[in-house]
C-alpha cells in the first residue's frame, strides 16, 4: 500500500532496479557490492619483495610476503585500525601513567598455535629480541627509550620508559614487535613460527611461497575468514599483473604504474588506492656548503615542480608534499601551512639573498632509492634551470646505494615508508644526532619541541606543537620532500574488503585476516 502511495508500482520498482544495475556498471570500480563477510574460500596473494634470503626472524625481516604472513600468524600488542587509530590487539587494554612514562599492558587470554597460553614472559621476550647489545634488529632504535620491561603477574607487562612518550602505544604496533613464544631461557623462539594470530604457518619456501591455514580457535571473532592463504613472491611487476589477470592470484601489490590504465579497464579487477605516509626525499647536508645557507635550501625547494612529479613519475598516484614528512594520514597533519609551489622567480630571489646568481650542485641518484628516482632527478634538473640552478645529476650504482650513497653524499635521494606517529618520524630522521638524520639538520627550537610534545598527553597542546614543528621542518629543514606516494594494490572480484587502512599497502599489511571471499 505504502509503495503505491509513493507512486512506486511493482513494474516501476523492477525498472528502477534494472536502472540501478546499469548505473552500477558505470560506477567507478570500487563500488563492488559488499556482502557480509563469511568464512571459507582460499586466498592467493602475489607480492613483491620476497627473496631467497627471507627469514621469519622479526629482527631482520623486511617488507615482503614474510611480513604480510607473519602479521597474520602473530598479533601485536596494539594494531592500527582503518581510521589510523591505535586499538588494543593482543593487549586487552593498556594505559600510561600521568607522565606517559610507565605503560601497563594487560595481556589477553589467547593461545599460540600449539595450544600454549600467551604470558607476560612471551611478550617480554618478543620485545627484548630487539634490545641489547647483540641484537641485529632494525627496530633497536625505537626501543632505545625503554629503560625496563617487567612482568606483573602472568598477564600484565609494564614498560618503563626513560622519558615520557604519549605515543608508546602506537609504537608497539610496529611489525617488528609481533608476539612470539619465549624459550625457557627467556630468549625468543622465532624459529617455531608460532603466534596467537588467526593463521598457522604451514610452509615457508623463502622467496617462493608461504602457505597459511586458518585456526579455528582464533580469539578475534570477526577476522580471519579464508580457510587457507597462499602468498607467492612475484618480483617482476609484469608477471605479477599477469598472474592477477589470469586469475592465478587474487590480489597483488604495486601494479606497474606505466600500464595501470590498461589494468583498470579489465572487468573484475579493482584497484585499491590509499594515501599513506610514504614519501620521497631529497636530503641536503645542512652542515656542508652551499646547503648550510637556508636561502639555498629554500631556493631549491621552490625550484622543484612537485605537481609535475606527481603527474609524470607517479602518474597521478600520489600527492604533492610540502617538505614535511607528516602526511595527511597522520593525526596532527598541518593542512594550513603555506604550500611551496614551483616558482623560479622566488627561487632566484632566495639565491640572491644567499649572494649568488647561479648555483651549481651535484645530485646523486639511483633507481634503488625509489622507482623513477632518476627520472625525478632529471625533471628537477629541468625545472631548476629556469631559476638559474644547474643540477648535475649523478647516477650512482643501484647495488649498494643505501650503504655507499645515502647518508654519505651531501645531496641525494631517499625513500621513507613514513611512521604512524609524528614523534617517531621526527625522532628517527629530523632530531639532532639521529642516526638517520639524512639532512644533518639541527634546529634548537625543533629539538626542544620534540621532547616536549612527546611527553604531552593533552591533545590540543600536542597539535599546536606538532603544527609548529611541521612549519620548522618545511621552512628551515634540510630535506626536500616533493611528494607523498600512494599505495596501490589490485584485486579481482573473488575477494572483498571493508574500508582499508592507510598505514601500509595491503590494508595495513593485514589483508590476510581482514579480507574475505566475495
Amino acid at each position: 500500500m505504502n509503495a503505491t502511495k509513493h507512486g512506486i508500482s511493482r513494474r516501476g520498482l523492477l525498472a528502477g532496479a534494472a536502472g540501478m544495475t546499469a548505473a552500477g556498471l558505470i560506477l567507478p570500480r570500487g563500488a563492488f557490492a559488499q556482502a557480509a563477510p563469511k568464512k571459507g574460500g582460499s586466498f592467493r596473494i602475489g607480492q613483491s619483495g620476497g627473496a631467497t634470503s627471507d627469514t621469519i626472524d622479526p629482527a631482520t625481516f623486511a617488507a615482503g610476503p614474510v611480513v604480510t604472513a607473519m602479521l597474520a600468524v602473530c598479533n601485536n600488542l596494539v594494531e592500527i585500525d582503518a581510521d589510523g587509530k591505535a586499538q588494543p590487539e593482543l593487549a586487552e587494554s593498556y594505559e600510561p601513567d600521568a607522565e606517559a612514562k610507565i605503560w601497563t599492558f594487560k595481556i589477553r587470554d589467547a593461545t599460540f598455535g600449539d595450544g600454549r597460553k600467551v604470558t607476560a614472559k612471551d611478550v617480554i621476550a618478543s620485545f627484548n629480541h630487539h634490545r641489547g647489545e647483540n641484537t641485529v634488529s632494525g627496530a633497536k632504535g625505537t626501543l632505545e627509550q625503554v629503560a625496563d620491561i617487567r612482568a606483573d603477574g602472568d598477564n600484565v607487562v609494564v614498560f618503563e620508559l626513560k622519558s615520557g612518550n604519549a605515543d608508546f602505544g602506537y609504537l608497539t604496533s610496529d611489525y617488528h614487535f609481533i608476539i612470539m613464544p619465549a624459550k625457557e631461557d627467556g630468549t625468543l623462539d622465532w624459529q617455531s613460527g608460532l603466534g596467537t594470530g588467526g593463521y598457522t604457518l604451514v610452509e615457508h619456501e623463502p622467496g617462493v611461497r608461504i602457505t597459511l591455514k586458518r585456526r579455528d580457535d582464533y580469539w578475534k571473532a570477526d577476522r580471519a575468514w579464508f580457510d587457507d592463504v597462499t602468498l607467492l613472491a612475484i618480483g617482476d611487476p609484469t608477471a605479477r599483473q599477469n598472474a592477477l589477470i589470469t586469475g592465478e592470484v587474487d590480489a597483488i601489490n604495486g601494479p606497474d604504474l606505466g600500464t595501470i590504465h590498461l589494468l583498470k579497464r579489465r572487468p573484475g579487477i579493482e584497484l585499491v588506492e590509499t594515501t599513506g605516509t610514504a614519501h620521497y626525499t631529497l636530503p641536503m647536508f645542512c652542515d656542508v656548503a652551499p646547503f648550510n645557507d637556508v636561502n639555498v635550501r629554500l631556493a631549491l625547494k621552490y625550484a622543484i615542480n612537485r605537481q609535475e612529479m606527481v603527474d609524470k613519475v607517479l602518474r597521478g598516484y600520489g600527492k604533492v608534499a610540502n617538505d614535511s614528512p607528516i602526511a595527511p594520514a597522520n593525526r596532527y597533519y598541518a593542512a594550513d601551512l603555506p604550500q611551496h609551489e614551483y616558482d623560479p622567480e622566488k627561487a632566484k630571489s632566495y639565491l640572491k639573498k644567499a649572494g649568488m646568481d647561479t648555483l651549481n650542485v651535484q645530485l646523486s641518484t639511483s633507481n634503488a632509492a625509489f622507482t623513477g628516482a632518476v627520472d625525478a632527478a632529471q625533471l628537477f634538473q629541468q625545472s631548476a634551470k629556469a631559476a638559474g640552478i644547474n643540477i648535475d645529476v649523478k647516477r650512482e650504482p643501484e647495488d649498494g646505494y643505501w650503504s655507499n650513497v645515502w647518508l654519505k653524499k651531501p645531496f641525494c635521494m631517499g625513500y621513507w615508508n613514513g611512521r604512524p606517529t609524528e614523534d617517531d618520524m621526527f625522532s628517527l630522521v629530523y632530531s639532532k644526532g639521529a642516526e638517520w638524520n639524512e639532512g644533518h639538520w639541527d634546529n634548537a627550537r625543533f629539538n626542544e619541541l620534540l621532547l616536549k610534545a612527546r611527553a604531552e598527553l593533552d591533545e590540543n597542546l600536542r597539535r599546536e606543537m606538532y603544527t609548529e614543528m611541521q612549519g620548522l621542518v618545511s621552512e628551515d629543514g634540510g630535506t626536500i620532500i616533493p611528494v607523498f606516494v600512494n599505495y596501490v594494490d589490485a584485486h579481482n572480484d573473488k575477494v572483498a574488503h571493508g574500508k582499508v587502512a592507510g598505514d601500509r599497502f595491503f590494508d595495513g599489511w593485514k589483508l590476510v585476516e581482514r579480507w574475505y571471499a566475495a
Binding site: A51, T52, S53, D54, T55, T60, A62, E133, N134, T135, V136, S137, G138, K140, G141, E203, E205, P206, G207, V208, R209, T211, L232, A233, I234, G235, D236, T238, A239, N242, A243, I245, T246, E248, V249, P397, D399, G400, W402, S403, N404, W406, G414, Y415, E435, W436
Partner: protein, 324 residues
C-alpha cells in the same frame, strides 16, 4: 711402449679432463670468493638495508663471523666443502644443501624439458633445410629461427604469456609448481618457460647443424653416393651427418649448459623457483656460501657437459684423438 695407455686412450682422456676439471673448480671457487668480497657492502649492510646502523651492522657481522679475515673464512668454507658440508646461508640460516635440494631439481627439470624438445627439433629442421637448401622451406625456417634468437628472451616470454596465457588461457602465466606437484602438473605449468627457452636456443643448434651438414655435402664421397643413386635423405643421415656430428654435439652441449645456468630471466618472468634466481638473490645479499655453492654447481655443469661433448665427438670421429 706401455700397452695399457694405448688400449684405453678415451678412458685416459676422461680421467685427465676430470682432474683438470676439479682443479678448475678450485680456481673458480677462489675467484668467486674474491669477486663477491670486492663488491661494495657486505651481507650485514645488505640485509639490514636502510635500517643498517653501525651498531646493528657490527652485531650482525660478529654473529656471522664476518669479522674474521678473508683467508680464514675461505679456508673454513673450503674445509667444510671437502667434507661435503656446504655450510649455512648467511641470510636465513638454512643449510645451503636444503636450499639447493629444492631448486636444483627444478632447474634440471626445466632444462631437460626444453632440451628434449629443442635438440631433436633443431637437428631435424637443420637436416631438412640442409637437404632442401635454397628452397622456401630452408629460407622460412632460417628466418623464423633468426627472428626468435634476435629478440631478447623476456620479450619472447611476454609474447607467449600474453597470447597463450592472458588472451587464450591455455597455460598458466606462473610456473611455480607448488609444493607437491605431479608430473602432469609440472609439464603443464612449465610449458611456457620451456617453450621460451626452446625458441631461444633452437636457432643456434639449427644453424650449426645445417652449416656442418652442408659443409660435408661438398665432399667427393657424397658426390660418389649421389652418383650411385642413394636417396637424398639417406645421403644426409647415413653419409653426411656422422661426419658432421662433432661440431653439432659441441653446440648442443653449449646450449644445454646454458639452459641449466643462464635462464634467470625466464625464471623471474615466470616465477619459476630455480637456481638462477637463488644465485642472483644471494649475490645481491653477498650471501657467500650460497653464491659459492651455485657457482660450483654451474661450473661443474659446464665442465661435465664439455667433457661429455668431447667424448661423444671423439667416439663419432676417433681422428680427433690424434691432433696433428
Amino acid at each position: 711402449m706401455t700397452e695399457p695407455r694405448k688400449r684405453h686412450p678415451l678412458g685416459r682422456m676422461i680421467v685427465q679432463r676430470l682432474a683438470i676439471g676439479v682443479f678448475t673448480l678450485f680456481i673458480i671457487s677462489v675467484l668467486v670468493f674474491l669477486a663477491v668480497s670486492l663488491l661494495p657492502g657486505d651481507i650485514a649492510q645488505q640485509i639490514l638495508g636502510q635500517s643498517a646502523t653501525p651498531e646493528t651492522v657490527a652485531a650482525m657481522r660478529r654473529d656471522l663471523g664476518l669479522d674474521q679475515p678473508l683467508i680464514t673464512r675461505y679456508f673454513h668454507w673450503i674445509g667444510g666443502v671437502l667434507q661435503g658440508d656446504f655450510g649455512k646461508s648467511l641470510a636465513n640460516g638454512r643449510p645451503v644443501a636444503d636450499l639447493l635440494a629444492t631448486r636444483l631439481p627444478n632447474t634440471l627439470f626445466l632444462a631437460a624439458y626444453a632440451a628434449v624438445i629443442a635438440v631433436p627439433l633443431s637437428v631435424l629442421l637443420g637436416l631438412l633445410s640442409a637437404m632442401w637448401r635454397g628452397s622456401w622451406f630452408d629460407r622460412g625456417v632460417n628466418t623464423l629461427s633468426l627472428t626468435a634468437i634476435s629478440f631478447p628472451e623476456f620479450f619472447i616470454a611476454y609474447i607467449l604469456m600474453y597470447w597463450l596465457s592472458v588472451q587464450w588461457g591455455w597455460f598458466p602465466s606462473m610456473a611455480d609448481p607448488g609444493s607437491n606437484p605431479s608430473l602432469m602438473d609440472l609439464v603443464q605449468k612449465a610449458f611456457l618457460p620451456a617453450m621460451t627457452l626452446v625458441l631461444v636456443v633452437s636457432a643456434h643448434m639449427l644453424r650449426m647443424t645445417r652449416a656442418a651438414v652442408v659443409n660435408v655435402l661438398g665432399a667427393p664421397y657424397i658426390a660418389m653416393a649421389r652418383l650411385k643413386g642413394v636417396s637424398k635423405w639417406r645421403i644426409i643421415t647415413r653419409h653426411a651427418l656422422p661426419n658432421a656430428l662433432a661440431p653439432i654435439i659441441n653446440v648442443i652441449a653449449l646450449n644445454v649448459a646454458w639452459l641449466i645456468t643462464g635462464v634467470v630471466i625466464v625464471e623471474v618472468v615466470f616465477v619459476y623457483p630455480g637456481l638462477g634466481q637463488l644465485m642472483v638473490d644471494s649475490v645481491t645479499n653477498r650471501d657467500m656460501p650460497v653464491v659459492q655453492a651455485c657457482a660450483l654447481i654451474f661450473a661443474a655443469v659446464y665442465i661435465c657437459i664439455n667433457i661429455l661433448a668431447d667424448v661423444l665427438a671423439i667416439a663419432t670421429n676417433p681422428r680427433l684423438l690424434h691432433p696433428r
